[in-house]
């Protein structure tokens, strides 16, 4: 069993210090109070700032607890923020894959579609932002389930509704699929949600690795899958690259 990690203990001490008294401290005060070198304290504060646990007052340069700490349990990333940050990458994915693109987040035991880009063939399509999709029968949903243990546990307790003859309805089978999703880093589905349709999705993460959403494509099963019924490797690569690009943009701007 590994020993305690010093930097995490120190970060906890910084947070405790900021949580009491005036709640506003300069770098030197914090370093001196905790007996840390200024460079070390600065590094810890910068990291805590990056994860939004600490904020720096622009005028005075002093540090205080970040707003994100107050609603730790609720939402990590605003849905509209995610759409705004990912819009260019979603467009690029639609242009490259020739398929429609959706970005989903978990909401109310379902996938909430927060962004939708039409399949670029100028056919009549309906904007699906705000729609809810089933977690267990879509690639977006499988990604969200695979990386959220609570969500997966809740899904196991509920009956998995059958939507087509291929929908996974047995919890054990779903478990196996989710393990596979985690090991390969993406999810696929063919005709489990709608006959003739398939989808591929990959996780969007925030710094530290927490999955906050999924981005994916959907379309005709013969376009998305090869003759053996497996998702086409080129499309999988494009989806995974788009997810990584969105992840990077979330890291960069934080």
């Amino acid at each position: 069993m590994p020993g305690p990690i010093q930097s995490i203990e120190r970060a906890a001490a910084v947070l405790r210090l900021l949580a009491r008294g005036s709640g506003h401290h300069g770098l030197t005060e914090i370093a001196d109070s905790l007996g840390l070198a200024r460079g070390t304290a600065h590094g810890i504060l910068r990291t805590l700032q990056r994860v939004e646990f600490v904020e720096q007052d622009q005028a005075t340069g002093r540090y205080r607890l970040g707003a994100a700490l107050l609603h730790l349990g609720t939402s990590y990333l605003d849905a509209n923020e995610l759409r705004s940050r990912s819009i260019n990458w979603a467009d690029t994915l639609a242009a490259r894959s020739g398929q429609e693109v959706r970005i989903g987040m978990h909401h109310d035991a379902a996938v909430l579609v927060v962004h939708h880009v039409f399949r670029p063939d100028d056919s009549v399509q309906t904007l699906g932002i705000g729609a809810m999709l089933p977690l267990h029968a879509t690639a977006l949903g499988k990604v969200l389930l695979a990386y959220d243990p609570d969500l997966a546990a809740a899904a196991r307790r509920r009956e998995l509704t059958s939507l087509t003859r291929r929908t996974i309805t047995r919890t054990q089978a779903l478990e196996r699929v989710l393990t596979e999703v985690r090991s390969q880093g993406w999810a696929g589905e063919a005709e489990e949600y709608m006959p003739g349709e398939a989808s591929i999705a990959a996780p969007i993460r925030i710094p530290g690795g927490l999955v906050v959403g999924a981005i994916g494509i959907s379309g005709a099963v013969d376009r998305l899958c090869d003759s053996t019924g497996r998702p086409r490797a080129t499309l999988v690569r494009q989806v995974v690259q788009a997810a990584e690009a969105v992840t990077t943009s979330l890291v960069d701007e934080n």
């Binding site: 707003a67 605003d78 849905a79 509209n80 923020e81 759409r83 705004s84 940050r85 819009i87 260019n88 467009d91 690029t92 639609a94 242009a95 490259r96 939708h116 880009v117 039409f118 670029p120 063939d121 100028d122 399509q125 904007l127 932002i129 705000g130």
Partner: protein
């Protein structure tokens, strides 16, 4: 390849034949605010940025200069620089379109005889963001500049002109040219002849010898001899004109709206020079070949910047996109309206003294209602401009093509569709400004055969259909108009300073 010389940064973008983005390189430049209301940029810094991003974009795309079919330049409009033709050194920093140092000068010029004629000839109302008043200011205030200008020792240029002159050799035979769209924003060009107008030059006191030659937007200008030598420069357009072109608004009556800090709506009016009776600007849309395509323009001064104000000055949200989340916590505006006349009202009202207001406050109003009112302000301002465009052209437009950062705001886009009662559509390539410049360049060099070929590259990424009840819409619009009228009343009652 396109160079987009924007207000805050310069970007170099490479597109392939299907109009897909291949590479993007970008560098920001400094904004100088030497006095309140003054906004300047260093033209040399901008040129140096171009020097870095062009090779960078080629590296990123993994191509050589020979593989670049053509280069198109698009730029922030009205911003200009004056430089020494013998040394290539600017005589002063570039004066940016946002600069309001000429407020007094504009008030004086407003009283000068011939002002009616000025509007008739250049299509623009006298305002400090067009180049001519600022150029006049510089000629009056930079020691010895007028004499140098009259002797022909200095050159004037909007940013397209500055970059083309430098790219084609600078002091060693650089081309001193501009395109009709950029020239149409100076107040010095006659819209009918598309040449510098002696009456306008005389009115503003600008020597003709310092002005570039006016060319069509899409034409072989020359070849680069510096930075990356050997690339044909075949297009130049002002940024909003490039967006009109990039959105393939080629038919008479088609409109594009770019939603960023401000909102810029342009309507293609075909070969017809429409003089607005409803407060819009007349401008050149673009010129491919011999005949120009005209456009009507209506600008919304405050769109995304109202969201930024809501974030930074009121602190009710952490990031701009959160405005939508907050707005969705309520089902309507609760009777609250915000008119963001921060520095007067632009099209179609043109009232510089107007100031913003929030009306309809009751104890029921919470921050969610305010967030809605913020977003709705952009919707209603769009409605006012589109109504004016339809009235001037005599026919309603069937659809609004949108681009810009605010198109990520789903609630706003739906609201615009609702209040216009027409579909709002977003293309797959969000970079319509750069794409428009690349299109114009590729058209001149034969990379794309014709406008029809370009239109086939336009793909629908999203479409918002109108869904608001007509009765409700017209009631809300009437309320908005009443709110706007109150800003006039406030302007009248404010003692002038």
């Amino acid at each position: 390849m396109a160079i987009d010389q924007g207000t805050t940064s310069t970007r170099c973008i490479v597109f392939d034949q299907n109009a897909r983005l291949v590479a993007v390189a970008q560098r920001e430049h400094r904004q100088y605010h030497p006095r309140p209301g003054w906004v300047e940029q260093d033209a040399v810094e901008i040129w140096r940025n171009v020097d870095r991003i062009m090779p960078q974009a080629l590296r990123q795309a993994g191509i050589t200069a020979e593989q670049v079919v053509a280069l198109g330049i698009t730029n922030q409009r009205e911003t200009f620089v004056v430089w020494d033709r013998h040394t290539g050194v600017p005589v002063a920093r570039a004066i940016v379109w946002e600069d309001i140092r000429t407020e007094e000068l504009v008030a004086e010029l407003e009283k000068k005889p011939g002002i009616e004629e000025v509007r008739e000839r250049c299509g623009l109302p006298l305002a400090n963001y067009f180049s001519a008043p600022s150029l006049r200011w510089q000629l009056d205030n930079v020691a010895g500049l007028r004499e140098k200008a009259e002797r022909g020792d200095v050159l004037f240029g909007t940013m397209d002109t500055w970059l083309i002159w430098n790219l084609t050799g600078g002091v060693n035979g650089g081309l001193h040219v501009t395109d009709v769209t950029n020239a149409s924003r100076t107040m010095l060009m006659n819209l009918g002849t598309r040449q510098w107008d002696p009456m306008l030059l005389d009115f503003f006191g600008v020597p003709a010898s310092m002005l570039p030659e006016i060319r069509p937007s899409s034409e072989i200008h020359g070849r680069t001899t510096r930075v990356v030598p050997g690339i044909s420069i075949t297009a130049a357009l002002g940024d909003q004109h490039a967006a009109l072109f990039g959105q393939t608004c080629f038919e008479k009556g088609s409109i594009k709206g770019t939603y960023g800090t401000g909102g810029f709506l342009l309507m293609n009016t075909g070969n017809e020079l429409v003089r607005s009776k409803h407060g819009l600007l007349t401008t050149i849309g673009y010129q491919i070949g011999a005949e120009p395509t005209y456009a009507l323009e209506g600008s919304i001064a405050v769109a995304g910047s109202l969201v930024q104000w809501f974030r930074d000055n009121l602190g009710l949200i952490h990031s701009a996109p959160e405005i939508e989340t907050l707005a969705r916590t309520v089902k309507d505006n609760g009777g609250c309206y915000i008119v963001p006349a921060f520095s007067g009202l632009f099209a179609p009202h043109w009232l510089a003294q107007a100031r913003g207001l929030v009306v309809g406050l009751t104890s029921y109003i919470n921050k969610g209602h305010l967030a809605r009112a913020v977003l709705e302000a952009t919707g209603w301002q769009t409605r006012e401009v589109v109504d004016a465009m339809n009235a001037d052209l005599g026919a309603p437009t069937p659809v609004l093509k949108v681009d810009g950062g605010m198109t990520a705001d789903h609630l706003l886009m739906q609201f615009i569709a609702d209040v216009l009662d027409i579909p709002v559509v977003r293309p797959l390539v969000a970079e319509t400004v750069s794409l428009g410049a690349a299109y114009a360049a590729g058209l001149a060099s034969g990379y794309w055969p014709d406008l029809e070929g370009l239109r086939r590259n336009w793909h629908l990424a999203a479409r918002w259909n109108p869904a608001m009840d007509a009765h409700h819409r017209e009631n809300e619009y009437a309320n908005w108009k009443r709110a706007v009228e109150l800003t006039f009343a406030w302007a009248r009652s404010t003692p002038s300073t």
